[in-house]
């Protein structure tokens, strides 16, 4: 690990660039030097820090959609299918293996 971003010209990020990098950042997909640059920008720019927070909250709100429950009827039907499959597996142990 070298300080090659001190040896070279350290290009600061623009806000308009940062907002297009938030997904890379949250995925941990940035090159470490770029990530450091990203975080330094956040340190001094509340606008961008807030934008990142809004994206995180958007995902959090979106994730609540996964909590919709399966209807009891659908679940019962599938559980009975599971039991049926179990019976097949027991009576025909060689099938599909």
């Amino acid at each position: 690990m070298t300080s090659d971003f001190e040896a070279g010209y350290f290009q600061e990020l623009l806000c308009q660039e940062l907002v297009e990098l938030v997904t890379d950042y949250l995925d941990g997909a940035m090159v470490p030097g770029d990530q450091l640059c990203f975080e330094q920008h956040l340190a001094r720019c509340d606008g961008c820090a807030h934008y990142l927070a809004e994206i995180r909250k958007t995902v959090k709100v979106g994730a609540t959609l996964g909590k919709e429950w399966i209807t009891p009827a659908a679940k019962a039907q599938l559980l009975s299918a599971f039991r049926g499959w179990q019976d097949v597996a027991r009576t025909h142990p060689q099938e599909g293996r």
């Binding site: 623009l14 806000c15 308009q16 660039e17 907002v19 297009e20 938030v22 997904t23 890379d24 949250l26 995925d27 941990g28 997909a29 720019c45 509340d46 606008g47 961008c48 820090a49 807030h50 934008y51 927070a53 809004e54 994206i55 995180r56 909250k57 958007t58 995902v59 959090k60 709100v61 979106g62 994730a63 609540t64 959609l65 996964g66 909590k67 919709e68 429950w69 399966i70 659908a74 679940k75 039907q77 599938l78 559980l79 299918a81 599971f82 039991r83 499959w85 179990q86 597996a89 099938e95 599909g96 293996r97």
Partner: protein, 247 residues
Amino acid sequence: MSQRPLRRQCHAGLAEGGDEADAEVLPAPHSEPLWADDVLLEALIRGDEDAFSVLLERYHACLLRVARIYVSSNALAEEAVQETWLGFLGSLPRFERRCSLRTWLFAILVRCAARIRDHEGRSIPFSAVWNAETAPGESALEPDRFFPSGHRWSGIWRLDRAEVVPTGWVDIPEERLLSQELRQVIGRLVDSLPAAQREAFILRDIAGLTTEEASCVLRVTPNNQRVLLHRARSRLRRGLERYLGSP
């Protein structure tokens, strides 16, 4: 859900310790739920009905949402998902574990849904042909929220117009963020996303698939998957902002 579900890889391996050399390791930032998918898989093969029940609760909603991208009605989506679960159970003995359980599950779903869609005679562009390089560009934000080129702060937030600078929604309490009200709003917004973006968002942010798993199901490169996810999140944030901003 862990504290910071989005930063799974960040500063991994941080450990807390005493003065001794072998310090205790804290749990990883992204902790696995009580029954991880691979544990469920083994239980399923043994015929454990509870394991199947957990799996149903975990993925059924997301399977329906993805199916609904391909087919034209909720009824057809339910049909696709029923078919998926049955197909999944039937194929379990043959499952070679070359991919994760949920990748397998969603891959079956996509096949079932696509078959029903083809039978309907619909044509939605397959996400497999979507390519970030050739698709038209899309900005996360309107350019006029930043100082224009030529200005000394070109590309920086327009601090002279307070209403365009993000607030972080700090004045919205957590209860409202996780409320039924906002769930309905985000549901409508997700339903109105372009197909490929919608699928990427559902797989990554609702079903919780990893980059690799989602790329596999979407049949695109990890980079393309990330562009789709980025665009989806940007649009959804904008939609929420508009909704929250109006009195």
